[in-house]
C-alpha cells in the first residue's frame, strides 16, 4: 500500500482551477518532487496534504485512511516552509522542541531528541541562539530539524532552498539527500527549479495548469519527455516542426523542417503522417567544421555559426540553417584558456546519432 494516495483531487478558486484532477501515489521512503512553474498548483496541492486547504473533489489517503476533516495539527505530516517560519521568540533548541512539546513528550525525552535532531543537522553549538542570529543556511537546517524531530510519516518541503545563494544551495542539496537517507522519512519536495528536482528526487511529477504532465524518474524525464511542455521545462532542447513519413521496425523516419529526413528512436503510438516536433538536446548535437573529414551520419545538416555564449565549462553555439531555422549545440571546453572552437559566420556541420532525439506530438 502506498504511504500517501492522492485520488483525483480537484481544488477550485473563484477565478481558476488550481488543482485539476491530480492522482499520485507516494511510496514509503521516497524522495518525491512536485515540479512546475509558479501557479501550476504544486503549492496548493502541498497545502492540501498538510491540511491547510481541503480538496473540492477527490480524496487524500495516508496509510489507506482518508485525511478528510483532520486538521493540520493532528496529521503526522510536517512542513518545512519556504520562509522557514522559525518562531522568532524561541531559541533554536526551543524551536526544535516545539512539536515534541505539542505532542506532550516527557521533558527528558524532549531534551534527548532535540540534541539528536540538532546533531543530525550539525547545529548543536547554536542551540541557545535565536533565529535572527543565524545565517540562511542555518535557519534552513533548524527548520529541517524541527520538521523531522517528531518523526512524521511525511515531510513536506515548500521551495526550501529558494532563499539560499547558489553555492549554499548545492551544499544543502547534498545534505538533504543524506538526511533523507539517514532518517528514512518520506519527503515531498516542491520546487520550480528543474535542476534541484533532477538532483534530489527519486521520482518527479511535472505539473502544469493544475495537472500532472509527466510522472517519472529524473533520467527518464530528461531523456524521454512525454510532451512539449515537459521537454521545454526540463533542461534546454531544440524543437523543430516535423512530420512522420514512415514507421520502421526499429525507428521513426521524419521529415524535419529546415533539416530534411531524420531518423529518430521509435515511440509507441506514433503513426505515419502524424505531425509534431522533433526535439533534440544541445549536448546531443555534434558540431564539426564544414571541411572536417568525418564519415557521414544518418542525421546531418549544414549551417552557419550565428553567435556563441561562453559559460565556463561549456560553450553554447547558436547555429542558423539555410532556411533560417536556428539550433543550439553545446561543446565542452576541455582545452584550458580556450573559449571557443568556432567564430561567428563559420560554416559548420551539425550531426546527431539516430539513437537520440524524440518525436513529440502532444
Amino acid at each position: 500500500m502506498a504511504l500517501l494516495e492522492i485520488r483525483n483531487v480537484v481544488r477550485r478558486f473563484a477565478s481558476f482551477t488550481a488543482v485539476d484532477g491530480v492522482s499520485l501515489s507516494i511510496e514509503v521512503g521516497e524522495f518525491f518532487t512536485l515540479l512546475g512553474p509558479s501557479g501550476c498548483g504544486k503549492t496548493t496541492l502541498l497545502r492540501m496534504i498538510a491540511g491547510f486547504d481541503a480538496p473540492d473533489e477527490g480524496d487524500l489517503l495516508l496509510d489507506g485512511q482518508s485525511l478528510r476533516g483532520i486538521p493540520p495539527e493532528q496529521r503526522p505530516i510536517h512542513t518545512v516552509f519556504q520562509s522557514y517560519a522559525l518562531f522568532p521568540h524561541l531559541t533554536v533548541a526551543e524551536n526544535v522542541a516545539f512539536p515534541l512539546r505539542m505532542a506532550k513528550v516527557v521533558p527528558d525525552e524532549i531534551r534527548r531528541r532535540v540534541q539528536e535532531a540538532l546533531a543530525s543537522v550539525h547545529l548543536l553549538e547554536k542551540q541557545k541562539h535565536l533565529p535572527h542570529e543565524l545565517s540562511g543556511g542555518q535557519k534552513q537546517r533548524v527548520a529541517l530539524a524541527r520538521g523531522l524531530v517528531n518523526r512524521p510519516r511525511l515531510l513536506l518541503l515548500d521551495e526550501p532552498l529558494g532563499a539560499l545563494d547558489a553555492k549554499l544551495r548545492e551544499d544543502m542539496q547534498m545534505e538533504l539527500i543524506n538526511l533523507q537517507k539517514t532518517v528514512g522519512v518520506t519527503f515531498i519536495f516542491v520546487t520550480h527549479s528543474q535542476a534541484e528536482a533532477l538532483a534530489l528526487s527519486h521520482r518527479i511529477a511535472v505539473m502544469n495548469q493544475g495537472r500532472v504532465e509527466q510522472l517519472d524518474e529524473p533520467s527518464r524525464l530528461y531523456g524521454f519527455p512525454r510532451n512539449r511542455f515537459v521537454a521545454d521545462f526540463i533542461g534546454k532542447i531544440n524543437m523543430l516542426d516535423a512530420t512522420v513519413t514512415a514507421v520502421a521496425a526499429d525507428r521513426l523516419l521524419l521529415e524535419v523542417a529546415g533539416v530534411g529526413a531524420v531518423s529518430a528512436p521509435l515511440k509507441a503510438g506514433v503513426q505515419s503522417g502524424q505531425t509534431g516536433v522533433f526535439a533534440v538536446r544541445p549536448e546531443q548535437v555534434q558540431l564539426l567544421a564544414e571541411h572536417a573529414d568525418a564519415p557521414a551520419a544518418a542525421n546531418e545538416v549544414r549551417g552557419r555559426i550565428l553567435d556563441f555564449l561562453y559559460i565556463g565549462d561549456v560553450t553554447t553555439y547558436l547555429v542558423q540553417l539555410s532556411d533560417g531555422t536556428r539550433l543550439e549545440a553545446l561543446l565542452p571546453n576541455s582545452a584550458p584558456g580556450r573559449a571557443k572552437f568556432f567564430e561567428a559566420g563559420d560554416p559548420v556541420i551539425l550531426r546527431w546519432s539516430a539513437e537520440v532525439g524524440v518525436f513529440l506530438h502532444e
Binding site: 498538510a50 491540511g51 491547510f52 486538521p71 493540520p72 495539527e73 493532528q74 505530516i77 510536517h78 512542513t79 516552509f81 520562509s83 517560519a85 522559525l86 518562531f87 522568532p88 521568540h89 516545539f98 512539536p99 505539542m102 505532542a103 535565536l130 524541527r146 520538521g147 517528531n150
Partner: protein, 300 residues
C-alpha cells in the same frame, strides 16, 4: 579664526531655535521645580522668591522638610499606592478589552483594517472632558445602567449604590479615555506577525489555544508593554477624572498636586509631590523600555 563650514551653520540654524525654546520653557521650568521642592512656601502662599531677597519673615533657604513631611505621614504614601493600584487596574482592563479588538482588526481583510482602526481613534478625537462628561450622564443615577443594577440589588434586599462618584466610575473613566492608546500599539504589533508562523505551529501539532499562548501572545509582548506605558503613565498623573467621576475619597496623586498649587497654595510641597511622581514615572518608563527591549531582541 577659521570659517565655519556650511554644514555646521545649517545644523545650528535648524536645531538651534527648537533647542533654545525647549531649554527655556521645558528644561528650565523643570529644574526650577526641582529647586522649589527644597524650599519654603512664601508668606502669601506659593513659593518664597527664587531670586532676590524675600519679604520679611520669609525663609529663602533650602530645606528637606517637604520630603520629610511626605514620608512622615502615611497618608501620602497611601495616595501614591492607591494611584498606582488604580493605574494598574485600568491598564489591565485596557489590555483585556483592547487585545481581542486589536487581534480582530489585525486578522481582518486588509481593506477593512483602516476603517476599523479609525473607528477606535474617532471617539478619542473628541475632547476628553466631553468623554468624561458623557460617562457622567451614562453612569448617572437616573440612567438605565444604574436603575438596572439597583433594581437587581433591591431584589436581593440590598441598599442602592451610586455608580457615579465612586472608585468604579474613576476606573471606567480612565479606561474609557485611554483605551485607544492600548489598541493602537497592540494592533501595530499584531498586524506585523507573519501568518506562516501560525501555520507552522499548527503543522507541528499546536491546537488553537497553544498557537495563541505559545506564538501570538509572546510575540505581542512589546505591543503590550508600549500600550501599557501609554495608559499607565497618564492615568497616574490624572486629576480631572477623579475630580469629576470620583467620590470625596478618590484622591489620587494628580488631585494632591493640583490642590497644593491651586488650593492650599503650598508650592514647595506640590513641587516635591511632582518630583516624586516624576521619579515613579521615570522608573516605570525605564522598566517598560527594558522589558520591551528584551522582548524585541527575542522578537522581530
Amino acid at each position: 579664526m577659521s570659517k565655519l563650514a556650511p554644514a555646521t551653520i545649517t545644523r545650528w540654524v535648524v536645531s538651534g531655535p527648537p533647542t533654545l525654546f525647549m531649554l527655556l520653557f521645558f528644561l528650565a521650568p523643570s529644574l526650577i521645580m526641582v529647586l522649589a521642592s527644597f524650599r519654603y512656601p512664601g508668606a502669601f502662599g506659593g513659593l518664597a522668591p527664587v531670586f532676590g531677597g524675600g519679604r520679611p519673615g520669609e525663609d529663602t533657604g533650602l530645606t528637606l522638610e517637604n520630603y520629610q513631611f511626605f514620608f512622615s505621614d502615611l497618608l501620602y504614601t497611601e495616595i501614591f499606592l492607591k494611584s498606582l493600584l488604580i493605574a494598574l487596574i485600568s491598564t489591565l482592563a485596557c489590555i483585556l478589552m483592547a487585545y481581542p479588538l486589536a487581534l480582530l482588526i489585525a486578522r481582518s481583510p486588509k481593506r477593512h483594517r483602516d476603517l476599523m482602526v479609525l473607528l477606535v481613534i474617532l471617539p478619542f478625537a473628541s475632547n476628553f472632558l466631553i468623554r468624561v462628561y458623557a460617562l457622567m450622564i451614562l453612569l448617572g443615577p437616573q440612567q438605565a445602567l444604574a436603575s438596572t443594577i439597583n433594581g437587581v440589588l433591591a431584589a436581593f434586599g440590598c441598599a442602592p449604590v451610586s455608580l457615579l462618584f465612586s472608585t468604579f466610575a474613576v476606573v471606567v473613566g480612565m479606561v474609557y479615555v485611554h483605551l485607544p492608546f492600548m489598541v493602537l500599539p497592540l494592533y501595530t504589533n499584531l498586524e506585523k506577525h507573519d501568518p506562516t508562523l501560525l501555520d507552522a505551529a499548527q503543522d507541528l501539532g499546536a491546537s488553537a489555544w497553544s498557537r495563541f499562548w505559545r506564538v501570538t501572545f509572546p510575540l505581542s509582548l512589546p505591543g503590550i508593554f508600549s500600550g501599557s506605558a501609554l495608559v499607565f503613565i497618564p492615568v497616574l498623573g490624572m486629576f480631572a477624572i477623579p475630580d469629576l467621576l470620583g467620590g470625596t475619597r478618590d484622591i489620587l496623586i494628580g488631585n494632591l498636586i493640583k490642590d497644593q498649587f491651586l488650593g492650599t497654595r503650598d508650592w514647595p510641597f506640590g513641587s516635591m509631590l511632582s518630583i516624586m511622581l516624576t521619579v515613579v514615572v521615570l522608573a516605570l518608563a525605564g522598566l517598560a523600555a527594558r522589558l520591551g527591549q528584551r522582548k524585541r531582541d527575542g522578537g522581530n
